[in-house]
Symmetry: C2
Subunit: 224 residues, 2 copies
């Protein structure tokens, strides 16, 4: 697979990407690039390979309208981006880190050839179970733990999409419960965490021309 | 800046990177690559550009030992990676999204030339304040909100480090409070969220040779 004609300097990508504020409604992500996006999402790393997520990709006017219709009141300003983007990714977390999911993970790892011995399989099952129990029983923050893994997918996607030549806008300003209802996510044991609109900027994307701003290095990095 | 001799296919990076389980203690990240890591970290995107983070980079035996010494008991298995890695990044979240930080952000954005008009500055200040208040006052999840932004930095760093030719291992299995104490983070209004060890794999890194495992696409991606 080769998606880019030019070499990528990853720091160039990181410093030149921006949050797209207006998408060109006439431009569609080509199939091979959408395949690359799915590859990026699916290969996101997660704590103990727990993959506590699902990604719903809305790529039709009907599905994007369904999401945009949930963005009322104080979040209505995000509706246009959802409608005009080529695709909108609904990044979801699982509602439970349950036994069925833990079983699916260990079976997949076995099928993928990660265990030369039964002991290796047992060790991996127990290590993941230790962290699942830590968050379920001791820290009692399993929901937040799973949502944090979804934010790894977000960081991975924003950098990766820029490398693929896509513009993107992440949106936390949404009515999560309304999206869960509109897309039937609760019945699938999922909850919406946030949206990422993907596509190509329009001339109305004022942010494309503005300089990026970050706190100075001394404010955010210390070397010891 | 050009860090790589070969073109990067970002999906190749995403599918070929792995969690490094053992680092070569003799190999150091060269200065120009460490600079690239800092560039990646500092340019991580965040909700309303809130940058609620700080990254402490431990690059000496003394500083890495100080962190490793906190990893006792059930987390002691992570100590060797901390000691043997070239550098260990302590990804921290702010303890408060307070007025001083919100002021620093808007001043930086102004200094970086993002506001052509006073109105643009006021709008940006109010938009960020809306989300800060939403999490502080209404959802009462400001700590989790800020930690989630740190996980964007994690996703960005893991993909970016792989593109830079580095091996990495993220570690949630740590004693957060002990690290806060060891590094004096509370006095700086920071809390440790997780660690990322960076460097180069050793021959003991069994995971380098194992196939990557992910749930099948149909289990984690739906198109609508």
């Amino acid at each position: 697979m080769q998606h880019l004609a030019q070499p990528i300097d990853i720091t160039q990508i990181a410093t030149h990407r921006h949050t797209c504020k207006a998408f060109d409604p006439t431009r569609r992500i080509p199939p091979e690039t959408l395949t690359a996006v799915k590859t990026l999402l699916r290969h996101t790393p997660s704590s103990v390979n727990s993959q506590p997520w699902h990604f719903v990709i809305a790529g039709t006017s009907t599905s994007k309208d369904k999401i945009a219709a949930t963005l009322a009141g104080r979040f209505s300003y995000n509706g246009e981006k959802v409608r005009d983007a080529s695709h909108v990714v609904v990044l979801c977390a699982r509602r439970e880190m349950n036994g069925a999911h833990l079983d699916a993970l260990i079976e997949q790892e076995a099928a993928d050839g990660r265990f030369a011995t039964t002991e290796a399989r047992v060790n991996q099952y127990n290590a993941r179970g230790f962290y699942a129990d830590l968050h379920r029983e001791e820290l009692r923050d399993a929901d937040q733990w799973m949502e944090k893994q979804v934010y790894i997918a977000l960081g991975n996607l924003l950098l990766g999409a820029a490398a693929l030549g896509l513009d993107a806008c992440a949106m936390e300003g949404i009515d999560h419960a309304a999206i869960d209802t509109a897309l039937g996510l609760q019945a699938r044991d999922l909850r919406c965490v946030l949206l990422v609109a993907l596509g190509y900027r329009s001339s109305a994307d004022f942010n494309a021309a503005l300089p990026k701003s970050r706190l100075p290095e001394a404010a955010v990095i210390s070397e010891i």
